[in-house]
Symmetry: C2
Subunit: 183 residues, 2 copies
Amino acid sequence: MQKYNDTTYAILGILTTECRSGYEIKQFIDNSLNHFWKISYGQVYPTLKKLEQEELATIQAASREGKPDRKEYFLTEKGKAVLKDWLEQPLKQLPVERNEVLLKLFFGRHQTTEQTLHLLEDYKQKLEKLYQTYEGIEEGIEEGIASHNHNQSDAKYWLFTLDYGKKVTEAAIAWCDATIKEI
Amino acid sequence: MQKYNDTTYAILGILTTECRSGYEIKQFIDNSLNHFWKISYGQVYPTLKKLEQEELATIQAASREGKPDRKEYFLTEKGKAVLKDWLEQPLKQLPVERNEVLLKLFFGRHQTTEQTLHLLEDYKQKLEKLYQTYEGIEEGIEEGIASHNHNQSDAKYWLFTLDYGKKVTEAAIAWCDATIKEI
DNA sequence: GTTCGCATGTAAAGAGTTACATGATTGT
DNA sequence: ACAATCATGTAACTCTTTACATGCGAAC
């Protein structure tokens, strides 16, 4: 089976929800996958175009009263098969996550102690803000369940991914505290 | 002051250690920064070339008995100033770290429970291996201190970055365990 | 002589961001 | 008129990986 990139699989997966247009997909990623995935319109539209060319999805033009026309995409059987196949594939090697803070800290000898402390405090603050973002997304998902806006069995998995973000961010914040004390 | 990319700053920083050649820089990154930074020869050599063109470093050809010739790079005052300036700059926004596991888990509804469990167990195993890699790097740094192979005050910061990797990986492993139980 | 580690490099392809361009509809 | 939101798209640029090409010196 032909290989696609993860961005393609992400969009393929989102098309199993009620998201249908490029605009909506981008919104969805910004609101619900933002803790571990992001995407720009510069990727969304070309990828959708490719999806149709490869017959993984079909397009339907939709005029909805009160809003501009849009293109709605629907997975084909082939599209569903490609998604299913990807889900079954073993994980690739864990990617190295580049971290600007650690890179600067690594060269901490060339900074003053104040600068290093400031770096860590700034990082900690950003992490705390991130944590709050996660809580916000979590609430959004829970509201979505309550108002039946999205599939209940999807929500379960969505909450798992959020928990990951929270746990890992907590650990990073704790490391900041410990390192600030040790410097 | 002109801006460069983080890869350039990483190399600039490494040139403050005893690493002098492109080959050595690549080795160093693979051995000591591998938990939060990586680089390919396709970046190393062109970046070094640019460093010289921009007068951030000078080249010296070096013949060492028993080994092929190589080019040794030395930071200029301008190079040191650029590095220092970057260290002082405030952090950019935290990047979104794409995570293939979370992406697959997000679409867990389209998998069997067995598949999801397998995904998480595979991830956990990879994280444990990663943790061991960190311990290996840590030992390497400690040996480097003992044998005076590298600057003592560098080592302090290097160990901080490793601790980060360990703490965050631990949290991820704990999340795997908790999620496996909950599924 | 051939394999391994040391050493330097480039070209092409792929991935992703940014900035731009366009236009509909609704509310103020 | 105008701003805001919804909506689609492209071109240029940057960054990175991969694959290839080359060659020295040592050890077996």
